[in-house]
Subunit: 547 residues, 2 copies
């Protein structure tokens, strides 16, 4: 039986906004068959964000807060790919390639843009390179493993200063996300430290940096946010208020006020930036987010819908736009699904009318803060029970409810997990940022990387019997550190930054492969090395003669 | 109160051999305090190998088969590092560096070498680059995620040939390890495929390659191994017997007999090789394993002990040496611990006398084979119950017993997990192997890598309107693929191997960073590109004139 081509609805993004749009579309499809649903997401799972921070402490298993999209959405075609581009004229979306380097093009009649927001550290010196984001599952797993790594290293470190650095943890951002991360991190490191005989609890420092005069000052009323702050303080969290992160290096977090905190662990939950693809579309927008009406249609377009964190939808509860929360995204999804189907079937559109239920934040170990409908304000254990109950109830699928329930129960019985997963090697070519006065490496270190200066200047200093000789001053475009790599030796000198400096670091293995197989590159390195060896000899002789 | 320096026992390796030596040493230490125990392992956990394959299917959680060493060994100093070198004269062991590039040196009075074995693909064309090992936790997690990735890609692939390739899975090695991997893999992909609407079960192929005339022929008596083979066959596993893997490329597994199986998933459980550090020691050994006497002392040395898979200890049950099994390693550990303490305290040494209990292998979904004390032979469901009971009982720690028990129970209730974790990006610089006739890339593909030829030759072929023109023949030391990277375009020609070929592949991002920041490299690439552009124009004109 020939049938007319069905309208194709294409959803970009599988967070609360995108996944729930597909879910409600499937429900509206019922036993009819008058449209197709496709969803593109870079992961094959939906992340239940509210429980993400619990992965840090291991209160729940590392997969307990995500659900396979295929299991939630049985009638949707799922494409697990990145999105390369959107062509609004041809009504197509191009996806990144899979195992084979061929693009994949999807066409649509209705396009739902639900791409959320990203963490964007660009423009902040060193954050891109040295701060950890906390946005998705991979971030949470990485952070957890990194924390265990710092404890393992601190346990065998004999230099007290470096040990202190390893045991200092800095979180930037005092909104819900930063507070939840700081609380879970603090609980976790203090709890598992008991398994490290050589680490004492009072060696551990967890520092929360926030630009406001108290944490959660934008989210909650005074008493609740003060309660949250006092709970964390009691559990050992330190605060740096009215200050913010200015820069990061491999060894420190540098605050606007000038303080330099020596640390190997810096997590930043700010700033949240628009998705680059969304910002690039020729559509009405503001600060990279798309403007939509109360029907979730993008202004000035037909067949383009948007919702969730990447959308600016008028807030029915007052002025301005809807806040980027899961409760708003889920309700926008229901409206979006209804309105798309209505416009296909020629029915009446419905406006978005949800006014928000309230706010909740967990503070770790059996406490939370809750503010409902502007009236109910709760803190402490009761708030924590409410928090767990609500989110457990909202978890999609019985299997997740079962798993999280069991994990929470087991958490009362058995000690916290401290397995460090080492997954994936560090990248062979990466960038690093240093501030003036910091050493990139010290004389005597093992040679593990070559560095190319992108910005800033450095000095090469050699110490012999207490005499320091400046061997060279390096400027952008020059490289250093190749000697120890080519000769398989330790560093012959210290390289110290004169200004703040950005470098490209190439790992030993990759450097050796390239130099061995690209003759031009090898010749170029050998020439520079020869020149430097001669210069060094001359300078050291002069230095020796002076004394 | 001054006390004499305590003897220091240093254990290298945290598998069954090393971890249980430390465990028994702690028991012998009792409430005395007359020696120190240290253990070096590259991970902070102990892997319970017998259950590793169950991670593939998700029967157990990804952390359920590993236990934190710190929790098992409360009086041992743990060093989570790689071992760089052993100096038997100075009695020191140098560890790799941690966050800072400084070596860490440990000294010992008694050294226990329990480093196990490694997977070594060297010398087999393309295996190092394209075959997946199955040895440790990271391998198991990687394989599981890779399997889900192939299913996600197959679900949206429209080319039937490539789809078939994605849904073909090859396991090389028909010993216990290979059979368990094939069984779990087969169960898993067939079970989760039901969640992929576009994939049919009969599209899936799982192929087990084994050099013997039947699987498990070296491990089990005829009837049991035939039973195992028929069970797997019934569940859809195909066999290639009396054959072995000869080579691997990004697209295929190539067998000795000449068959080329198109696949994106090749797992090899053979060959197992000695640990490179052990093979390099100036001690009595054979094929890289250390020879020890029945007291587990390394022959011709004092204070050096060895056990487990890296040791050759006479087999008390007959001729030859002990097999590399967990049951032997655990009993050797008990003897080693006793003998070290005896030699410190001046007591009598004990010889190793364990003769082995039997063999067990799981065959996936509720069946197994068991052979005990050479008499009891069991197969099927009862054997599977025995298998689970024994290994559950052997799991170290109540918390693991609890977790694995719950996971097994949940497995009966909820559908299998199909979350694909994407952890860590692929390496920026890697090697690849191709066989004659294979294409490295095709004209029109997206340009994602530059290639440098290490060995072999290739042709650059351009097709225009059905005419093929060979633009160039490339030899070792030459590179190709740079044009599409520098000009941000698709591939302008196909590169096809004339002989078998090894290349170094550099990812676009890393290539761009290096070229942008190393002026000599940029100049060299630009010169070659200019020359090639001219050559190509000439050749295409000639080609055009001919027709």
């Amino acid at each position: 039986m020939p049938s007319p081509t069905r309208p194709r609805i294409l959803i970009l993004g599988g967070g609360f906004a995108g996944a729930y749009t597909a879910y409600y579309l499937e429900r509206l499809l019922g036993n009819r068959d008058d449209f197709d649903i496709s969803l593109v997401n870079k992961e094959n799972y939906f992340v239940f964000q509210p429980l993400l921070a619990e992965i840090i402490s291991g209160n729940i298993g590392i997969l307990d807060t995500v659900s396979p999209l295929r299991r939630l959405l049985k009638r949707t075609d799922l494409y697990v790919r990145e999105i390369e581009s959107i062509d609004m004229e041809k009504k197509t979306v191009t996806l990144s390639h899979g195992f084979r380097p061929r693009p994949h093009v999807l066409s649509y009649d209705h396009l739902v843009i639900a791409l959320g927001s990203t963490t964007n550290f660009r423009g902040m010196a060193g954050l891109q390179e040295h701060a950890l984001p906390f946005k998705n599952l991979a971030d949470a797993i990485f952070l957890r493993n990194h924390l265990i790594h710092t404890l393992e290293e601190a346990a065998i470190e004999t230099d007290p200063e470096f040990r202190r650095q390893l045991l200092t943890f800095v979180v930037a951002g005092g909104g819900f996300s930063g507070v939840e991360v700081a609380a879970e991190l603090n609980d976790f490191v203090r709890r598992v430290a008991t398994h490290y005989r050589s680490i004492h609890r009072n060696e551990i420092r967890v520092i929360l940096v926030h630009s406001g005069k108290r944490i959660l000052d934008r989210e909650l009323a005074g008493p609740l946010s003060l309660y949250a702050q006092s709970i964390l303080e009691k559990r050992g969290v330190e605060f740096r208020l009215n200050d913010r992160l200015r820069a990061a290096t491999p060894d420190s977090a540098i605050l606007n006020g000038g303080e330099r905190i020596q640390t190997k662990t810096l997590i930043s939950t700010v700033p949240s930036a628009p998705h680059p693809l969304v910002a690039s579309l020729p559509l009405h927008g503001e600060k990279g987010r798309l403007k939509a009406n109360l029907f979730t249609q993008v202004e000035g377009s037909t067949g383009i819908w948007t919702l969730g964190d990447c959308a600016l939808i008028p807030d029915p509860s007052g002025s301005g736009f809807c806040p980027p929360t899961a409760q708003h995204a889920m309700r926008q999804a229901k409206i979006t699904a209804h309105n798309i189907v209505a416009s296909i079937r020629g029915e009446q559109l419905k406006p978005f009318a949800f006014k928000g239920l309230g706010k909740m934040g967990a503070l770790g170990h059996r406490s939370a803060v809750v503010e409902l409908l502007g009236r109910v304000k709760q803190s402490g254990f009761l708030a924590w029970v409410m928090w767990r109950t609500v989110y457990w109830w909202k978890l999609p699928g019985l299997d997740r409810k079962l798993k999280v329930g069991i994990a929470w129960a087991l958490d009362l019985l058995i000690p916290p997990e401290l397995v460090q997963l080492k997954l994936g090697d560090p990248q062979g070519v990466s960038q690093a940022h240093f501030e003036a006065g910091e050493a990139v490496f010290e004389q005597g270190d093992l040679g593990d990387r070559l560095y190319i200066i992108l910005k800033g200047e450095a000095e090469v200093v050699r110490s012999d019997n207490g005499t320091n000789v400046v061997l060279a001053r390096l400027v952008p475009g020059e490289y250093f550190g190749e000697m120890a790599l080519l000769n398989q030796k330790t560093r012959g000198a210290t390289v110290r930054c004169v200004t703040s400096m950005d470098v490209l670091a190439v790992r030993k293995g990759e450097f050796s492969s390239l130099v061995a197989n690209l003759p031009d590159l090898r010749r170029s390195f050998e020439q520079v090395m020869q020149k430097r060896t001669l210069q060094t000899r001359d300078l050291l002789q002069q230095g020796g003669e002076k004394h």
